[in-house]
Amino acid sequence: SQQGEEDPQALSIQEGENATMNCSYKTSINNLQWYRQNSGRGLVHLILIRSNEREKHSGRLRVTLDTSKKSSSLLITASRAADTASYFCATASPDSGGGADGLTFGKGTHLIIQP
């Protein structure tokens, strides 16, 4: 089953504009991670935000986390054609034995940047 739900499913914008993607999840988490996937190949880690953090920046990326609403957003500023990809949020939650369950991914947002 998938915990995360990204919104929108697909987004098409002009180069230079900002892109915002949202993610909602269901259970308590240790952290939330965003990944990028190009053309159905391997995923690339973008940013990790812990449950006690509210906002995090990395270059042109800004991630927010609202644990009360169980939601996160990823903002990509000044988009480029190379940002065209699918973006996934993934949550890491504690298991019942003091460890961590495997990452739970959403279905992803497909972002298209038009030149």
Binding site: G4, N30, R41, H45, G99, F105, K107, G108
Partner: protein
């Protein structure tokens, strides 16, 4: 420094057959996780290996099994293949099991399995 590598890149099998996929983790990593990604979906966690043992398992049947070797590389085996097993199989490496999912995961390029 080589990242996570997977082999083969593509594989075509028929229903009922068995398949073995291979993964070598990033240098310095000791934990390997496997994910299945169906077309248009996000990856789903299959299981995780650490110290040559399965430590965590997702909601997958026993037809899916694995192995980790002393050099940390890993294999994913799927028996009695079904059409629904067609997917991209991703391997991810990390460190720090049993809390490795709390860390950044490094993914390989995946193996695309087609079951006819």
């Amino acid at each position: 420094d080589a990242g996570v590598t997977q082999s083969p890149t593509h594989l075509i099998k028929t229903r009922g057959q068995q398949v073995t996929l291979r993964c070598s983790p990033k240098s310095g990593h000791d934990t390997v996780s496997w994910y299945q990604q169906a077309l248009g979906q996000g990856p789903q966690f299959i299981f995780q290996y650490y110290e040559e043992e399965e430590r965590q398992r997702g909601n997958f049947p026993d037809r899916f099994s694995g192995h980790q070797f002393p050099n940390y590389s890993s294999e994913l085996n799927v028996n009695a293949l079904l059409l629904g097993d067609s997917a991209l199989y991703l391997c991810a490496s990390s460190w720090g099991s049993p809390l490795s999912s709390y860390n950044e995961q490094f993914f390989g390029p995946g193996t695309r399995l087609t079951v006819l």
